[in-house]
């Protein structure tokens, strides 16, 4: 059930996801989310889209090819046969 007392949290969703809130604000929202508020869950989902977009504000950069080689070597060691 939507808790009418949570409207003031709406403007905090994105900052919470970014880890930019003070300890107090972060704690309030975390405790509220732990109670499973569907209104805030929907808001957090939209806020994640905004956080995603903000991440895209950086310019793409080409990593050194060595990183991919190491990654594939690392996972190939652990990988069971391809199904």
């Amino acid at each position: 059930m939507w808790n009418m007392g949570c409207q003031h949290l709406e403007e905090l969703y994105e900052l919470w996801l970014l880890g930019a809130l003070s300890e107090r604000g972060s704690l309030d929202l975390r405790e509220h989310m732990a109670r499973g508020c569907p209104h805030c869950l929907a808001g957090i989902r939209e806020a994640t889209e905004t956080v995603y977009l903000l991440g895209l504000a950086s310019k793409p950069a080409r990593p050194h090819p060595r990183v991919k080689s190491e990654l594939l070597r690392q996972i190939s060691r652990k990988a069971p046969p391809h199904r």
């Binding site: 900052l15 889209e49 991440g55 895209l56 504000a57 310019k59 594939l72 996972i75 190939s76």
Partner: protein, 240 residues
């Protein structure tokens, strides 16, 4: 002409231990992910390590992620930013424990007149340089960092579905336009939050403004971007 497979189809193949599918996802998204990580972390070896760990995590979590059906690129971007910011915070904390230069990293107003801010506006080159080559000793494992969820644990219910979000490079110009429309103090505060890994009080100390003003700036900036999100993604026709 070959048609590019949806990322979610490739992820389903990764979940069946198809290394070629992971290789294809890497080729498609590594520049985007590395761009975010390298913007946050000044040291290249740390940025490369996070990039590798994010894709290794995608491999390890592929079965769960594929089942949940969320957007792969959204998971990659959100996870990479969190992981890089966690590493940056840990490096900053370690720098604070190393010596007096650490206060510069937090306040940006140290007594060293030659101190210049790094590209992320967080560590001056003198501190960043001192960390280079020491990251093996300094860096905590990602699992040790508790301020935000550990890598790859963003709840599925929080992530958008593929149809709700797209990575359309030619629309990113609109995103930059939106961000450039922000007043400079708001843009600066948002940059420090998104790519500097700073919380409100750290931003206030960094830019020398009262906490209340920084809080208002951040909320206004986020609201501005949020209200233009659909237009940037192309799901609303709107002038920006």
């Amino acid at each position: 002409m070959s048609v590019e497979l949806p990322a979610e189809d490739l992820l389903a193949r990764v979940a069946r231990h198809d290394v070629d599918a992971l290789s294809e996802l890497y080729d498609r998204y590594a520049p985007r992910v590395y761009g975010i990580v390298a913007h946050i972390l000044p040291a290249r070896d740390a940025a490369e390590e996070i990039l590798q760990e994010v894709f290794a995590c995608l491999w390890g979590e592929s079965a769960r992620l594929s089942q949940e059906g969320n957007s792969v690129v959204a998971w990659l971007v959100v996870t990479a930013r969190e992981a890089a910011v966690d590493r940056l915070r840990a490096l900053r904390k370690n720098a604070a424990n190393i010596g007096p230069q650490a206060s510069i990293a937090h306040s940006g107003k140290g007594s060293d007149p030659g101190a210049q801010k790094s590209k992320a506006g967080v560590l001056p080159p003198s501190v960043a340089k001192s960390l280079e080559g020491k990251t093996t000793a300094l860096k905590p494992r990602l699992a040790d960092v508790a301020r935000t969820p550990a890598m790859g644990t963003v709840p599925a219910a929080w992530l958008p579905l593929p149809k709700e979000i797209t990575l359309i490079d030619d629309r990113l110009v609109l995103l930059h336009k939106v961000i450039n429309q922000l007043p400079k103090p708001q843009r600066q505060a948002l940059e420090l939050a998104v790519f500097g890994g700073m919380c409100e009080s750290e931003i206030a100390a960094e830019i020398g403004e009262p906490l209340g003003k920084v809080q208002r700036s951040l909320r206004a900036a986020v609201t501005f971007v949020k209200h233009r999100r659909r237009a940037v993604c192309g799901t609303w026709a709107a002038n920006i």
